[in-house]
Amino acid sequence: MERKPGPVGGASLFSMKDREYGDTMPQKCPHIPHVFKVIERMPESLIAIMDALPYLLQGSMVTLVVVVGAMGLGFALGAPLAVGQVYGHPALRRFIAVYVWFFRGIPLLVFLFLFYFGLCTAFDINLSAFAVAIIVLGLISSAYQSQIFRGAILSLPEGQFKAARALGMSDFKAISFIILPQALRLSIPGWSNEYSILLKDSAVTYALGVAEIMARAHFVATRTYQHLPLYFAAGVIFLVLTWVGTKGLRLLEERARIPGYSPKGL
């Protein structure tokens, strides 16, 4: 039996090699030989992964820069937002609540397209896809991070702020030197959650053409027809990055821990 190879974009998993193995395949139960084929082609798959690995790992650097940049931006915006939402003027609080609702309520992909293809084109802003990815992920993350910090601030005893004021600290000093150092410590577990979510969300930016892990895996896969090994490799790289990141944040949590003082619920 001879099949024609499908078009490149819509290539099914085995479409290319079906021609070579087609004659030996029993016709009635097509799934079982597929399993054999996957196993049979393991060495080939490994070679495909090895070949693509340096290229994918370069992509993981791009992914990491996007994630770290977005987390940094999210932190820089999220911490003041949280403070504003807890201690701010009622009008400011309402504004922040709307901000959070806005950035948590619209899907990432919609935002990326809106920003990159919409706003940047409409206002003639010359930003790279890479920069847009960091900005959009950072803005969305700031909404989530603000809620992590807000919860941590609210969990601190009221007396901490009172005692700081009683010493003659302005509210700004009390927040900077007393409230935030404690609240940020309590935020680290929530923060490591945010990291793993951002890491995975960053894969969506491939839709803008950011050369991160997913984009590169997709690029190689569609050209070599090695979809299974390449997406598998991409998934493993993401898993490793998640593990490394959460481990790192766990270490930070240990280091920042105050002797004899553990966050509530621990």
Partner: protein, 252 residues
Amino acid sequence: MTAPILRIENISKRYGKKDVLKGASFDVLKGDLKILIGPSGAGKSTLLQCINFLVKPDEGRIWLDEQEVHYAHKRDLCAYRQKVGMIFQDFNLFDHLTALENVRIGMVRVKGMGKAEAGERAVMELERVGLREHMQKYPAQLSGGQKQRVSIARALAMDPKVMLLDEPTSALDPELIGEVHAVIRDLGNNGMTMIMATHQIGFASSLASEIVFMEDGRILERGTPDKIFNHAENARTREFCSKITELYGERG
């Protein structure tokens, strides 16, 4: 008669429909130890917190050293609070800082002193309350009595003119009350001006220059410990004093 160091006039505070303070006034002379007594809900704690504006009074004026405090001006308010030390019932030490850092932070962040200089002063204050060897410990590693002594050292390091003590020993185990009382007694002997709310009648009567009996947001009666505890004019004062004497004994 010398001018009072602290003068409060007609302080009132209401929460919703409830009047918590109905116009409390008194003068405090330098070196006075004024003790506020009265049942829970009498407004003692609210009054103390109104004095340094942790609770904003609805009415009333306060003078420190004959200068009226304009608490709406943030800078004036912060300057005033530096001169009025506050001791809380539940200590409120900064949980992320060691005992030393707790005492030092006000000097560094509020007074703008250098870390080294402030550190030396902090060690001195901790020594004064007998905690020099515990200065590297975090609040969670200290006993209640030690925490309260650190908080006293923290307030003293700011060189306050007046100290406000809001039931400083009522969250403590009976065994630990003595060590805190000793520190307060020592402060009194060194001429510190203090206003303290407490239920420790024995301690109060041995040290107070004046006892102020409060109930229901009002000052009902005031006088020397002997007058309040033995010859009170108001029937309610007598009733309260006899009950509390039974509970806490003659000696604190």
